[in-house]
């Protein structure tokens, strides 16, 4: 077994341990070094996928926002995503302009390092907080229920 695979397995075990410590239910896909969990939110359900990438030696977290932005709203949502991304310390909202899908992404390298379960927990908690804050606002924008000006005002508050 090469070092990259060994390190990926160690990180995957830490990831599972972190989720166990938080008492979160999750689905495992060890062949892909991936876990998936759903966390209830105030407004919309939040799905999180965390995956270990052996080649790049990083772990990423992706949380798909459960909306499809119609094309007539794409420009506004692109501006909104850009606006809020500039305010974030960690992670970003990724908008697929063609498909109208939106997800939150954050990553952490672990190359030749001893990354703690606390660092993995930080990824999950920051992502949860950020997605919880903005998912319903993006939903409302995609439905025409929230203007870009009001989205910006919310983000600035």
């Amino acid at each position: 077994m090469d070092n990259e695979t060994k390190n990926a397995l160690v990180m995957y075990e830490k990831l599972c341990k972190m989720l166990d410590e938080l008492e979160l239910k999750y689905d495992k896909d060890p062949d892909q070094y991936e876990i998936e969990c759903r966390v209830g939110g105030d407004d919309l359900p939040m799905d999180f996928v965390m995956r270990i990438h052996p080649n790049g030696e990083f772990v990423d977290l992706l949380s798909r926002i459960p909306i499809t932005v119609p094309q007539d709203k794409i420009l506004e949502v692109a501006i909104a995503a850009t606006y809020v991304n500039n305010l974030l310390v960690d992670g970003c909202f990724d908008l697929n302009i063609e498909k109208g899908t939106l997800l939150f992404r954050t990553t952490n390298f672990y190359k030749d390092s001893d990354i703690s379960t606390e660092a993995l927990q930080y990824m999950l908690l920051v992502s949860h907080q950020t997605v919880e804050t903005y998912n319903d606002k993006f939903f409302m924008m995609s439905k025409g229920m929230l203007s870009l000006a009001d989205f910006k005002a919310f983000a600035d508050a």
């Binding site: 790049g56 420009l75 850009t82 310390v89 970003c92 908008l95 390298f109 672990y110 390092s113 930080y122």
Partner: protein
């Protein structure tokens, strides 16, 4: 983790960061006890980097501001361009401040209760250099009149 442990860990990461840059044989400036800066010659545009060790958040934070500001009449297109590029990235993202056109590539990495190697810090730097070098000239061309359609073709 106690505040003193956090401080000690941040200092260790800062020292590892300096060692990582020295291992690359690159010149750099120690801006203060938490930040370093350096410049890299890219294929097209010079690239400047600032790396901050954020003790409070226990994060390594890399910033690479692009050497131009997006013009007001290009801002909406630039938002679409930034979103499209960010969707392609595995690490980091471009942040555009639409109030003044500042465009910055940024990466963060948590070192909370962790032991961070110099190799990891080199990894962050190398990834960042590659991504900034790949896209900075395209953003400049967009800002200088390239159409959004042609920008999207150029990055495809």
């Amino acid at each position: 983790m106690s505040n003193s442990n956090q401080t000690e860990l941040a200092h260790k990461v800062y020292n590892s960061l300096c060692a990582a840059i020295e291992e690359l044989n690159w010149k750099y400036n120690k801006v203060d006890s938490t930040r370093i800066s350096f410049e890299v010659r890219g294929d097209d545009l010079p690239m400047s980097f600032i790396i901050k060790i954020d003790e409070d958040r226990q994060l390594v934070r890399l910033f690479s501001p692009l050497p131009f500001k997006i013009k007001e009449d290009k801002m909406a297109e630039a938002c679409v361009a930034v979103c499209t590029v960010n969707y392609k990235l595995t690490i980091g993202s471009f942040s555009l401040d639409i109030s003044d056109g500042t465009l910055v590539f940024r990466v963060t990495n948590s070192f909370r209760s962790s032991v961070i190697s110099e190799e990891l810090l080199e990894h962050i730097i190398n990834y960042s250099c590659a991504f900034v070098d790949k896209y900075n000239d395209k953003f400049l061309m967009l800002n200088s009149g390239l159409s959004l359609a042609d920008f999207l073709k150029a990055i495809d």
